[in-house]
Symmetry: C2
Subunit: 405 residues, 2 copies
């Protein structure tokens, strides 16, 4: 079967490589069909690439090629990826993608277009890179009420936090090394401010509960405020700081979803996830906690997930995937600060007695070199609004949520 690739960057070139390198096993997994690259769409020139005869700068070459029924969209971004994908789906071609921004922002419209034309829109690679998560969540856990999801969804920030925790590096030093290793972009905003994790939270929440959650509904906080002092106190508490995307079911009409640094205790499967690895924990009413771990990014891991979706399209050309992803609504994602109770880590310039006079039950923490006017502690469970009320007038340095995953 003929497959086109749109966008010949890291993931797109990986898709071509994975298809060619696995040409002997792919027919075993498609029920006998081979995959052949028909077109590669990219505005750039690749004069020395062995596939140079396949390149085109005209999207219509793909749209109008009746033999090309499967297209990998690895361009990233909203435009022109949305327009291209929509046209392909309306033309009855299946599209598979690693483009989390597009799925998070416009997934519903694209899935509806696929539904209408009988094509598939698949996006296993959009969350967790190479980690199988979309199919397990939608199919293997189908007989569960999902109670919550928590994930380390961004490899760059997990690498930076690992360097801070294990090597005692500052955030700035760790970011510099992440950039040198190619884990972080020159402009690291999307990663370190949590936007990338936020998009993945939207996709997971939309799939788990069937209503589209948009990025602007998910309150998002990055890791730029985390200091080595916080790392030390939290080590003393028996945990580590991770950037977590968290989703909590409240009712069919309400969920909570947020991205933030969080204290994860060492007993959790999420605590041992280091470097650029990702892990997603899903809590179901029947199954309990299951966890999916692996490389959350990278050329070949991500490409292998895109190609798995291509194989799925090739195997069952007449079958539509049912995702049950419907419209969202403005008040579907609640204000978690008002609604969700949890413990908090707090670091402040205050005395223990001041803290004890405001909090019924706190666990004080210590660190090497702790100044005499600094306290750090873990509260009992309360909403974030309640916490802020209790801290009113206190010189707070940092507060971090404590997760129960």
């Amino acid at each position: 079967m003929k497959v086109a690739v749109m966008g010949y960057g890291t993931v797109g070139s990986g898709v071509v490589e994975v298809i060619e390198h696995h040409s002997d096993i792919i027919p075993k997994r498609t029920g006998g069909k081979t995959l052949e690259i028909s077109h590669i769409l990219d505005l750039r020139d690749f004069p020395n690439d062995p596939h140079r005869d396949l390149f085109t700068k005209d999207f219509n070459d793909i749209l109008n090629d009746e033999e090309t029924k499967i297209v990998a969209e690895t361009m990233g971004g909203i435009n022109p990826a949305f327009d291209f994908t929509m046209k392909l789906l309306k033309a009855g071609k299946s599209v598979v993608t690693s483009n989390k921004e597009l799925v998070a922002q416009r997934g519903l419209e694209l899935l509806q277009a696929a539904e209408e034309s009988g094509a598939n829109y698949l996006f296993e690679a959009s969350v967790g890179g190479g980690i199988p998560i979309i199919r397990p969540l939608c199919q293997c856990l189908a007989a569960n009420y999902i109670e919550g999801i928590a994930g380390i969804l961004n490899g760059t920030t997990n690498f930076i936090l690992t360097m801070m925790i294990e090597q005692g590096m500052s955030f700035d030093e760790a970011l510099k090394i992440a950039q040198e290793k190619g884990y972080a972009e020159k402009d690291p905003t999307a990663d370190v401010e949590g936007h990338d994790a936020c998009r993945k939270v939207c996709i997971l929440a939309s799939l788990a509960f069937g209503k589209h959650v948009y990025p602007n509904q998910v309150e998002t906080e990055g890791i730029t405020n985390i200091s080595l002092e916080d790392v030390s106190y939290i080590e003393n508490a028996g945990g580590v700081i991770k950037l977590l995307g968290q989703i909590k079911y409240i009712s069919d009409d309400e969920i909570a979803a947020f991205v933030s640094p969080a204290v994860v205790y060492n007993g959790s499967q999420l605590a041992s996830v280091k470097d650029v690895f990702n892990s997603i924990l899903v809590r179901g009413d029947a199954v309990g906690d299951v966890c999916f771990y692996g490389p959350g990014a990278g050329k070949l891991p991500t490409a292998s997930a895109v190609v798995a979706d291509i194989i799925d399209c090739a195997k069952h050309t007449d079958r539509k995937k049912i995702f049950g992803w419907g419209p969202g609504s403005e008040d579907y994602v609640v204000d978690y600060k008002e609604r969700i109770e949890m413990p908090f880590y707090v670091r402040a310039k205050a005395s223990p007695s001041e803290i004890n006079s405001r909090f019924a039950d706190v666990k004080f923490l210590s660190r090497k070199g702790q100044p005499s006017d600094e306290v750090a502690f873990i509260t009992d469970i309360m909403t974030e609004n309640k916490l802020n009320e209790k801290l009113d007038g206190i010189n707070v340095i940092n507060t971090i949520k404590v997760t129960n995953y």
Copy 2:
């Protein structure tokens, strides 16, 4: 759609419970179809069960019911489960199962029967209980050459080892607690001798590489020889002892597969898997290492995986799953002792100089209360046959494989 359940033990009754308890969400995941229990086959009487009107002792009631197109086989064992399943598949009914013994022993014949009649034979629950592993392995990782698999595949033995490692309990004490908690059977042989893990290794190997591996081809060693002294030495080495099922790809015509205690270093995702939890690590050429963690047994976790398979059958009634699971052969699984190199942990009554005279490169270990005539060490990599040659004449107390997962 009507569903019959064969075997009303722990998992079978869980299947009925999960279907009934999730009746509101199941139609969302089947594309609108509801599930209804039509028959429950069990030779026992359940006079007070709310489903008493559904019970039958006659398998033909299910076989001859034209409206029942999906059957859950949760009887366990080979007979009569094999005969019943074969007849149902030949009649065009899909069968889903948690019966690892049957799938490991006769999976190929049953899959071939399903293929011929256009029915499905699905067995997500047969490995890892509630953990999604079969679909991820077959679908999400389809664009990878699988290089190896290592899994903690038995919850009972993992619980016993956890108690030994964390509480300093002896094997016998830990087994007793496992029995009191209902994790271990009165006759714990199948668990502690590794037979249960062996069946799961067969299923994983057959799926990953497409040739049926039978239990008698997989050399299997349990945990009854593990002592607290070994636990201490291995803690000193920076690792833990786990009962691992390991599969290694050699060529399309040869694999290695074995079940044994193994030293897992603390950096591994498998090291932090405690109590009755399971975890399966899959190493692919493109994706690298991915890991699947969760409850490996238990009524509702296992039942939820069976029901997920039922939902899959109900959703796509006209589609056959392609597993690519073909015939095996006698010499397909090699003698790993001759072919696979790895480091080993050795404990012996010997002096360090005796050991140094036989091994080029060893790392000696220590423990509290170590007798002066006892040594323990980790070797460099070699085959197990080579190891035994080098140890010839030494008074060896125990040897344990060291894994690279």
